[in-house]
């Protein structure tokens, strides 16, 4: 479906001495997303997730590298590819001079939807995110979570075949987040390909068929959530001692229990999760 080859994105930024330097936000990224898959991109802040998505959605040009949709380079026929794409951006980007309904209508018009279809889909999607009664309000009058829900609703109006979601569930309450998960699963079941970034690792674990872990613009690893956990060891022992919070991975509960028995302090034995893999792979000190 989507193939990325040697993708590089560089920005010119000012460093501490106010000199302009080249900063590599995405560094030689290659990967492949299969049709109908929910594909997660995980990484610490500044890892290059948003920049990658912005290149895939053609909001910004790669410095180097190629992107293919269904085997065809995006350079060849960008408009045809853009028709297939829906985007939930990380940053809220409504038109503040238009009402909620007009923002939705603008989206429908930009995607060449007929007037009836537009009306029907806008109502449907607004109702789905429980914002049906805000249609005549200005976006700035909505709460943070409402704006996020509206972003999701907007991205789906034209029924995209490929959906990019950049931290879509940030600031959503747990109930809404679960409903969005259900929606994403339902979309994938119908054949929509979903590329999602998130800092909620349990979200990636719950949703994604495969996950790419990136750090400092580079791809660290790519696999299914289960495989990540398995490769570390299925069971984790966690404990606190004078050096701080510690953990170690084991193949089986017996091994883990035997090890925990040797510790002076009490320990906690649990299943390894994707978060453990994430922290292992991106470096334990990262983000501290």
């Amino acid at each position: 479906m989507i193939k990325i080859q040697g993708l590089i994105k560089e920005f010119q930024v000012k460093n501490k001495d106010k000199k302009t330097v080249t900063k590599r936000a995405v560094d030689n990224l290659s990967l492949h997303v299969k049709p109908g898959e929910i594909f997660g991109i995980l990484g610490p802040n500044g890892a290059g997730k948003t920049t990658t998505i912005r290149m895939l959605t053609m909001e910004t040009k790669p410095t180097l590298g190629e992107i293919y949709y269904n085997g065809e380079s995006i350079k060849k026929n960008p408009l045809e590819i853009k028709k297939l794409i829906g985007v939930v951006p990380q940053h809220i980007n409504f038109d503040n001079d238009l009402t909620v309904g007009e923002n939705m209508e603008l989206h429908g018009r930009l995607h060449h939807m007929s007037s009836e279809k537009r009306k029907q889909r806008i109502q449907e999607m607004l109702d789905f995110v429980e914002l049906g009664d805000t249609i005549n309000r200005m976006p700035r009058s909505l709460s943070g979570g409402m704006k996020r829900r509206l972003l999701i609703a907007r991205s789906l109006i034209h029924e995209p075949k490929i959906l990019f979601m950049d931290e879509p569930t940030v600031a959503l309450d747990p109930q809404v987040r679960r409903r969005i998960w259900d929606l994403i699963r339902a979309l994938a079941a119908k054949g929509t390909t979903v590329i999602i970034t998130t800092h909620y690792i349990e979200e990636a674990e719950a949703l994604c068929n495969r996950v790419a872990i990136v750090n400092k613009g580079k791809l660290i690893a790519i696999d299914t959530p289960e495989a990540f956990c398995k490769s570390l060891g299925r069971i984790t022992v966690e404990w606190d001692d004078a050096d701080g919070h510690q953990y170690q991975f084991f193949e089986s509960r017996q091994e883990a229990a035997a090890f925990a028995g040797t510790l002076e302090h009490g320990a906690h034995i649990r299943r390894t999760n994707l978060e453990d893999a994430f922290i292992e792979l991106t470096g334990r000190k990262e983000g501290v």
Partner: protein, 245 residues
């Protein structure tokens, strides 16, 4: 392409429609002051050529006003680009970038024409004699296009409202006064005059005034304006594409 141009125009029309009474009222203030101060107050004692100073003045005011209005119609794009980031919706949409630029320019032309119509009505009420022909309207539109493009370019290149208003202060305001709007550039010092005569607003002023007072006009000025409009479009397109860097 046409559909996309309409979409972009539709958006600006929705916004304008909501503020139309306010827009019209606020657009009356500046021209009204010009007419009162220079046309009615000062102008009664001034004779220019054969007609009254008011007849001389009104085309100049229409030129400078349409310049200001169309420029300022597109400067809000700067905040839409940097702060609201709403331009992103257009960039990811299956749409030619030119459709975006053309739609925006047309919306600015509409605003420019509305305010020109307001001036015309006010001027007639002040007793001016105007000869409005299709060519007159065409030149007015061309003038709006050029300065809408300047506004578009500035909105894409400048990083704050502060910088945008500096264009107003250092470029548009001097042009408003010097480009044959209130007085003939013939009275300016030679070197300075040469510079002023190259500027698009000077060509617009002379064309509009010539047509309005039914005097002969230099039609090559139309070609000059057309060249400005084409260059403006190319620069606007480039500035928009630079957003993808």
């Amino acid at each position: 392409m046409l559909q996309d141009i309409c979409t972009v125009f539709w958006r600006d029309w929705v916004v304008l429609k909501r503020r139309l009474p306010k827009f019209i009222l606020s657009r009356m203030v500046a021209p009204m002051l010009y007419l009162v101060a220079f046309g009615w107050g000062l102008g009664r004692n001034i004779q220019v050529g054969s007609g009254s100073y008011l007849d001389f003045l009104v085309p100049g005011i229409m030129a400078l006003n349409s310049m200001n209005i169309s420029y300022n119609s597109l400067t809000p794009l700067c905040t839409e680009r940097i702060y609201h980031r709403s331009i992103g919706e257009y960039i990811i949409a299956p749409m030619h970038f030119n459709a975006f630029i053309i739609g925006k320019i047309l919306a600015a032309v509409l605003r420019g024409l509305i305010s020109s119509a307001i001036i015309m009505i006010l001027a007639l009420a002040f007793g001016a004699n105007l000869n409005i022909t299709p060519l007159f309207v065409g030149i007015l539109i061309l003038n709006c296009i050029i300065f809408a493009e300047v506004g578009f370019f500035a909105a894409m290149k400048m990083d704050s409202y502060e910088e945008l208003s500096q264009v107003n202060t250092y470029v548009l305001l001097p042009m408003s006064f010097l480009c044959g709007t209130f007085f003939s550039t013939r009275t300016l010092p030679e070197v300075f005059r040469w510079f002023i005569d190259v500027l698009p607003l000077t060509h617009t002023s002379y064309l509009l005034r010539g047509i309005s007072t039914q005097s002969p006009v230099a039609l090559e000025s139309v070609a000059v304006l057309a060249v400005y409009a084409i260059i403006g479009f190319i620069l606007g397109n480039k500035a928009f594409r630079d957003q993808l860097k």
